[in-house]
């Protein structure tokens, strides 16, 4: 059994190595890695409070005291992921452990952590914090919700316009630093894309696979379900839910997830319908292999190519859906988001280029990166294609 797992892991490692070839995909991974780092370490990269300060011989880290629950959960997930990558385990076990660990961390944090309810960022510019022996500030010394009220009537300012403060990407209409908001928003962009698509993928692969493999009645019922879900307009469902239940990121993820699975189910069904009559699948049945092996080992890897392209577009479109909602002013109220920032580019009478260029560029690059990765993965998973392209070592 152990040997078996090893041989299987080497398969996924081979795929990974092949995906890694090529320049475009490396840039894409680098961009996603930058986004992940920004999302995970956002409170340490852009915050109004010092990372570390010494006052009268007492060393304190104010940033740790003001971490939100969300910050801690994200950090915990990141640590978990790093640990699991280092420990040699099968892919399936890693995924299970990661999900379980995340759930555990979330419950613990919600029970134990009591962050301060109200944040007054102005206090960090008061003598209590500034008159220290020494202090280390984050690279961007402004929190995303720090509206700089102590600087008087601030508002939209172009990059480096203010004389006494440095805002590399300017400030938004309430006076908060745009760079800081960009960094914090990458968390929303990443998570909504991955989680919404993840939900859709799981439902889509399972239902589509069963529909395609069993066909007949299962297929007919499944397809009717697909048609029902396809007829729901996601954006209007989101608008309705926002109107009834208020604004919640998690609700958005779930709604985007459960309305976008029919596309994946269709892909998987079509592939499985084609594959189930393939002779190697018939041979697997004739060899008496269990259903899970037939479905997920012999059929899915052969039918996954169109799905991957669909997934890369799915992640991109989930990000765009959130951006759209935020652009329409129906996103999260106070939390930063790229779409919401885009909204401000056109809101005032003048066109504020920095409010369009930076978040717009970020959305563009993220969507582009996912598409590149999807395509590279599709090529890598096909031994013939990768051999032809001269990718194999």
């Amino acid at each position: 059994m152990t040997k078996h797992v090893v041989s299987r892991e080497s398969f996924s490692r081979r795929i990974w190595l092949k995906t890694w070839q090529g320049m475009g995909v490396r840039f894409a991974f680098a961009w996603i890695a930058v986004l992940v780092c920004m999302g995970v370490f956002a409170p340490f990269l852009a915050n109004s409070m010092p990372l570390l300060m010494s006052k009268g011989g007492v060393i304190s880290a104010p940033v740790l005291a003001y971490l939100t629950r969300e910050d801690v959960v994200v950090l915990g997930m990141f640590a978990l992921a790093v640990m699991l990558v280092l420990v040699p385990l099968g892919v399936g076990k890693r995924v299970v452990l990661f999900v379980l660990g995340t759930a555990l961390v979330t419950i613990m944090v919600n029970l134990l952590l009591k962050p301060p309810a109200v944040m007054i960022y102005d206090q960090f510019r008061s003598p209590t914090y500034t008159e220290a022996d020494w202090r280390i500030m984050p690279p961007i010394p402004y929190a995303p919700q720090d509206y700089l009220r102590d600087f008087g009537q601030t508002g939209l300012e172009a990059p480096l316009e203010a004389a006494d403060r440095i805002h590399l990407m300017g400030t938004e209409e309430n006076g908060a630093d745009v760079f800081s908001r960009m960094i914090h928003a990458s968390r929303i962009a990443l998570s909504i894309g991955l989680i919404a698509t993840g939900i859709a993928l799981v439902i889509g692969i399972v239902l589509g696979g069963l529909m395609g493999y069993f066909s007949g009645v299962a297929d007919m019922l499944g397809m009717r379900l697909v048609e029902i879900f396809e007829s729901i307009p996601t954006l209007f469902l989101l608008l309705t839910f926002v109107a009834f239940f208020g604004r919640s990121l998690y609700m958005m993820m779930i709604i985007i997830g459960i309305t976008s699975w029919p596309g994946y189910a269709r892909y998987v069904r079509a592939e499985f319908l084609k594959l189930r009559k393939q002779e190697y699948v018939q041979a697997a049945v004739a060899s008496g292999l269990p259903l899970s092996s037939i479905l997920f080992r012999h059929m899915l890897p052969n039918g996954v190519a169109p799905l991957l392209v669909g997934v890369s577009f799915g992640v991109a479109s989930a990000i765009l859906a959130e951006a759209t909602l935020s652009f329409l002013g129906l996103g999260l109220v106070d939390a930063p988001s790229w779409g919401q920032m885009l909204n401000q580019a056109v809101k005032s009478s003048t066109f504020n280029w920095w409010m369009a260029a930076f978040p717009g560029g970020a959305i563009f690059f993220t969507v582009f990166a996912y598409n590149l990765i999807g395509e590279a993965f599709r090529d890598a998973i096909d031994p013939q294609l990768s051999r032809k392209a001269g990718v194999t070592a």
Partner: protein, 547 residues
């Protein structure tokens, strides 16, 4: 007769895929006198189709070039003729028939329209009524039944044989001097092939045209050609009168090809049935008993998908397969032989009837109940392209079923067992660490056989395992199969449409026609003195090497 109609001199055709140069046709010369048929024979990849396409210059312009040689047609050099002049010759003076009748007609036009279009292109002065008359005449010439109705049919309404007739009619409508036929009967059943070949010979006698006939089947060569050329890797290794080449081949490759034809296999080597006394002994115990087996596929109509009728793929078949024998299941495409093979393994659910493997009833068992029985019965498939999972190493393909059935105690031992099976099949051991696309068709079929053998089965269904292979590769596989069957005391159900293979390989023969078994018995008896009318027709249609 002094000047041949087509004179190909030192033809070179180079293909340029990427930056490499493939010498697809390398210094080929032959000539075809008026009214004669010249056959180009060779295995796949030998350059015979490329030669034919070069003659009519149908190869893609950027991809192919002809650095040397000339093709003289009525004294004109086709290779140096401008494209516009060539277009006048194509169709009207040189016509072509392709291999695949399913795709060589345009599906959105009726067959009549397609012939009329070809006619009017080459005879612009011909009006619609005249062209239609000529087209109907051409269709009558190829003996299509009910021509006036068929004229307005779309290609999908015709059978494969009828479509090939339409293709011939279209080619002949303009009364060409040279007909190029690229494997025109390969995709057809043997009885249909016999009719088409007879028709082509008759039309040639009537019109006096010449034919360049491309095939891989020496039986067809013997029936059609006055002259034959044997191609190997782009070179023409032997040219001569047909009877001479077939009876007394000079080149080693021709000898090898002819020896590999199943008809000759039995004569040349040792007798394939050394254990004939065992036949009587084995008669008593049948490893597999099939009783009144029906496999019907419902035809559903309407919004409620109610069943209006059934396609009776297998219709009341009863069959005993004696232990240790090779039973050949013969029939034309669509006769239900593959469905029967799959139903035996429960890959297709039988509608009714009983299948017993060593007395154990198989029908009605759930997948879970079937699993312990699976290792006893295995299957090898026809298509080497799709019979192996392209995403898995051969090692995984071979060891996974062993693991599921608890054969071998650990991964190491399973690898060793799999290697031993590969040794038996004369495959190198590093086969395990490769992907399916790295192998040729013949090697893949051996790997497919290995996948069946690792489970130590007692009974294997071989579903047309050699029909996609070249004749020399087929000979290797058949010989291997006989060796393994003797070593492992296997029982085989060998499904095929090739009578030559049946005669060489099998102890017993079962003939199927339209879902029913029409004749069964010892192979020598069924092939020597067939009783049923259909079997007689089938055997008569087989193109024999020696006529």
């Amino acid at each position: 007769m002094s000047q041949p109609l087509l004179d190909v001199r030192n033809l070179h055709t180079h293909l340029h895929p990427g930056n490499t140069v493939v010498k697809a046709v390398d210094d080929v010369s032959f000539s075809i006198p008026r009214g004669e048929t010249f056959c180009l024979v060779g295995e796949s990849g030998s350059g015979k189709s490329i030669s034919a396409l070069s003659v009519i210059r149908l190869l893609p312009h950027g991809l192919a070039s002809h650095p040397k040689g000339e093709i003289l047609f009525n004294g004109q050099d086709l290779l140096r003729m401008p494209e516009a002049d060539l277009r006048n010759i194509r169709g009207s003076q040189i016509a072509m028939i392709f291999q695949e009748p399913m795709t060589s007609l345009n599906p959105v036009f009726t067959v009549g329209e397609q012939i009329v279009e070809a006619l009017q292109l080459h005879h612009p002065d011909m009006n619609d009524a005249e062209a239609e008359e000529r087209a109907i005449l051409a269709l009558e010439q190829v003996q299509l039944p009910k021509v006036r109705e068929r004229f307005h049919d779309y290609p999908h309404q015709l059978s494969g044989g009828q479509r090939q007739r339409v293709m011939i009619a279209m080619a002949l409508a303009c009364e060409p001097e040279l007909l190029i036929a690229d494997e025109p009967t390969t995709a057809l059943d043997v009885t249909v092939q016999a009719e088409i070949l007879r028709l082509m010979r008759k039309l040639q006698d009537d019109t006096g045209m010449s034919t360049l006939f491309i095939t891989h089947d020496f039986g067809v060569v013997a029936q059609m050609a006055q002259q034959v050329g044997v191609m190997q890797r782009g070179k023409l290794v032997e040219v001569g009168r047909t009877a001479q080449v077939l009876r007394n081949p000079q080149h080693a490759y021709t000898q090898q090809l002819l020896a590999a034809v199943p008809e000759n296999l039995g004569k040349a080597g040792s007798s394939p049935h050394p254990n004939s006394p065992q036949q009587g002994l084995g008669k008593g115990e049948a490893i597999l008993q099939i009783r009144d087996l029906n496999v019907w596929f419902p035809i559903k109509k309407g919004i409620f998908r109610h069943t209006v009728d059934h396609v009776r793929a297998v219709d009341g078949v009863s069959l005993d397969i004696p232990k240790g024998q090779i039973v050949a299941l013969v029939g034309e495409s669509g006769c239900g032989k593959t469905t029967l093979g799959r139903a035996v393994l429960q890959l297709e659910k039988p509608t009714s009837g009983s299948i017993r493997l060593q007395g154990q009833e198989l029908t009605g068992l759930s997948a879970r109940e079937l699993r312990p029985l699976r290792p006893k019965m295995q299957i090898v498939f026809q298509d080497p392209q799709s019979s192996l999972n392209p995403r898995l190493l051969i090692e995984t393909t071979l060891t996974e079923p062993m693991q599921v059935h608890g054969i071998g105690s650990g991964h190491e031992e399973r690898i060793e067992l799999a290697s031993r099976v590969l040794d038996d099949l004369q495959l190198p051991r590093d086969t395990l660490w490769r992907y399916p696309h790295e192998f040729s068709g013949g090697q893949r079929q051996r790997i497919g056989l290995a996948r069946a053998l690792v489970l130590n089965p007692e009974f294997i269904v071989c579903d047309e395992i050699t029909s996609a292979l070249d004749v020399s590769v087929q000979a290797e596989i058949l010989q291997l199969l006989l060796k393994i069957r003797a070593e492992r005391h296997l029982t085989l159900l060998f499904i095929t449409h090739n009578i030559g293979v049946v005669e060489y390989l099998s102890d017993q023969t079962v003939v199927m026609y339209k879902g029913k078994v029409v004749e069964q018995g010892a192979t020598a008896q069924v092939c020597g003195s067939p009783q049923d009318a259909y079997t007689q027709k089938l055997l008569a249609a087989v193109p024999r090497l020696m006529v």
